[in-house]
Symmetry: C2
Subunit: 416 residues, 2 copies
């Protein structure tokens, strides 16, 4: 696929019209066939993936990154299963969100339609190639993928299998295109392809996302980092607080909805912190707190200003003492990344203050921040978690991959 | 107000928290007081505006542009009236769009919240200063305005009156800030102020909008140009067609929802075009068409390829002949700007094909494209018409100036 970006864009636009009105049953047929194709072509996929793995080892890639890159039989089955699950989800396209009649008799409705052409820029997980295609396609969108250089053979192999499935189902194979040229220069030009691309979704680390936000002229949905807080209020059930903090901090540390910072009411710090420290010792969690917290518990190391804004993604927790819910809200709004924040409380008024006052995609009362996830929210799938406020905020499922159009039924109305 | 952008951003963020939870009644009180303040300070406003007008005349600004810049007693009353109307609109903030219970007992709802800090970049109409403040404020947002250099005295005077009203109502006057430095350099830095600004809305001509889209790293809502088409189907009521085209073309020519291009079924061109040409002569509309249309009507001049993509904003109409609804849809999707498109038809199937197949913010059956407007749609107000697909598409009222947050009620849930 040695096409220029211009050619790729034109092919995407040409495919867009067909996808806009493709019936759900045909979309599901493609997804089922694509799942089969991945399974049938497992040997080819493993062979191509081996080329990437070999190159990665030759360039002394870190073991964790090599593992991200690796395809196995079970990972291929997971990709296929993911496509089948997407086939089982409700098609968001065509829903009329509202319709009303105006005094002049016009009936004006708002209908859910595909976004059009979605660009995905991602790093070295080859499964994103199949996942992103499945979600974008089910919502009626054409997808242009730009994966990492390290995974190029794997991505091309997966894209080839998916394009074959589209062709067999007589749907334009350009519903998915992969940019073969993985140079930074081409990536930057891709980010400015406004004529052909309706939205860009970067998937990867903070560096990638920052680059896309800075360079792109195409609208971007930012999926971001999570410096998530749990605030333990004066009235909290401390058993519940310990359980929730333990879960949110340690159940999985490398994810954006893990808890990174504890905010604690000064009146419960003495009762909470020693117990919590004991529990977190099970997982060797390092505690870094302000002076007041350190007076309450000797296991806590001093925190620096830098700690408050940090997404550790590690067995570290920062601890800040506050005089009440207002100060907790101020602290959180100052240092958070707009992802997920929780209050543990029995107080009705404070729960409402926290829900209203905290500025984040997801605000919890008495539950772990780890639930911010498309599957946990019941969307059946997820393309990422938006930390921006435009278009989509929080976990993004199929609906977030759509736009709307106004449809207006008249019988000759003109504007006076 | 000689503040740096950094200081302006910090003040905006400081005001944001108060606005996030400001009760509707207090927002309305501010809007009413602001309307009074504009009326009371009319002399000051006119005096400051006179400085801008004098400078404009000295620099030989075109008469039309001077008129755009001019404040009069009646224009000031209109601004005040606009604020009172906004006070009368329903507050979008706080609406819970959905709430559902998950199997684990978590109740997850999606609640409408302010966007946060909105940046508006506009040209020389001083009334935008009051209008944009009113809409952003009612939706709970802080607004930072960057108006044109030509209107700086007028804009500062209006902002001063509005800030005075905020202060009298004990609401942070930084709910509106105007950037005093109107240099391009500062405007460009403003477009990259991601740390403080959640969204930018450019209001003005195509050049301004293109610049903002190209330079901004803050998310942009693009309000765009309209190359709007009307397709007259084989089965159309030709009287209705002539009335609607006449209205959409001539009722107001300089607006984005005016009709710029007629697409006509080849089987009705002979019956339609001479009648239409006769009617459009009343307004001296110039007709530019393809060969087939010119055979049907001798008043039509030859169109060039360039005509199909043109937003004339003038008494000119292009005419394209097609063999049916599919070709009409293809032509429109190729040349339109995603604004407003209409079909005139009696055919059920063709009306549905057109509604589904045409990619635009508003698609009409048997009505004038001139209705694409926040007031005509019943929103009560409008900050612009979005021609992009992300976040908001079509007329943008108060709801489009909001975001959502997920609120989650638990009773101790942790993720297994």
């Amino acid at each position: 696929m040695g096409l220029t970006l211009e050619e790729i864009g034109q092919k995407a636009k040409a495919a867009e019209g067909m996808l806009r009105t493709l019936p759900t049953s045909r979309k599901n047929e493609v997804l089922e066939r694509a799942a089969e194709a991945l399974e049938e072509q497992q040997d080819m996929l493993l062979r191509e993936n081996a080329k990437d793995i070999e190159a990665a080892k030759e360039s002394h890639m870190a073991q964790g990154l090599v593992d991200r890159l690796l395809l196995t039989e079970s990972r291929i089955l997971q990709m296929a299963e993911g496509l089948r699950q997407i086939a089982g989800l409700e098609d968001p396209v065509g829903e009329v969100l509202s319709m009303h009649r105006r005094p002049n008799g016009l009936e004006i409705g708002q209908k859910r339609v595909p976004l059009g052409v979605i660009g995905i820029i991602y790093e070295s997980r080859p499964n994103v190639t199949a996942d992103a295609f499945g979600l974008c396609f089910k919502a009626g969108n054409v997808v242009i993928l730009r994966g990492g250089r390290d995974a190029i053979h794997s991505n091309q192999a997966i894209a080839k299998a998916l394009r074959g499935a589209l062709e067999e189902c007589q749907v334009s194979k350009d519903a998915i295109q992969l940019i073969a040229d993985t140079s930074h220069e081409t990536a930057e030009r891709f980010m400015k392809l406004n004529q052909y691309v309706d939205v860009l979704i970067p998937r990867g680390g903070a560096g990638l996302i920052r680059t896309v936000v800075e360079k792109a002229t195409v609208p971007v949905i930012e999926t971001g980092t999570g410096n998530c807080h749990i605030y333990v209020d004066e009235s909290a059930d401390l058993d519940m607080a310990v359980d929730i903090i333990f879960n949110a901090k340690t159940q999985r540390i490398g994810v954006c909805n893990a808890c990174e910072s504890l905010v604690v009411h000064e009146k419960v710090k003495d009762a909470l912190l020693p117990r919590l420290a004991g529990r977190l010792k099970e997982k060797q969690v390092e505690l870094r707190g302000d002076e007041a917290s350190r007076r309450a518990c000797s296991d806590i190391q001093p925190a620096s200003e830098e700690d408050w804004g940090k997404e550790y993604l590690d067995y570290i927790l920062s601890i800040k003492t506050v005089s009440g819910v207002e100060e907790a809200i101020d602290h959180i709004n100052r240092y958070n990344t707009g992802h997920s924040e929780a209050i543990i409380t029995k107080d009705y008024g404070n729960s409402r203050k926290f829900l209203d006052g905290v500025d984040a995609a997801a605000v919890y009362v008495n539950a772990s921040t780890r639930f911010t996830d498309g599957f946990e929210f019941g969307f059946g799938a997820e393309i990422g978690i938006s930390t921006q406020k435009l278009h989509a905020r929080g976990p993004m499922g199929l609906k977030e991959l759509t736009s709307t159009k106004y449809i207006i039924y008249g019988n000759g109305q003109v504007r006076p």
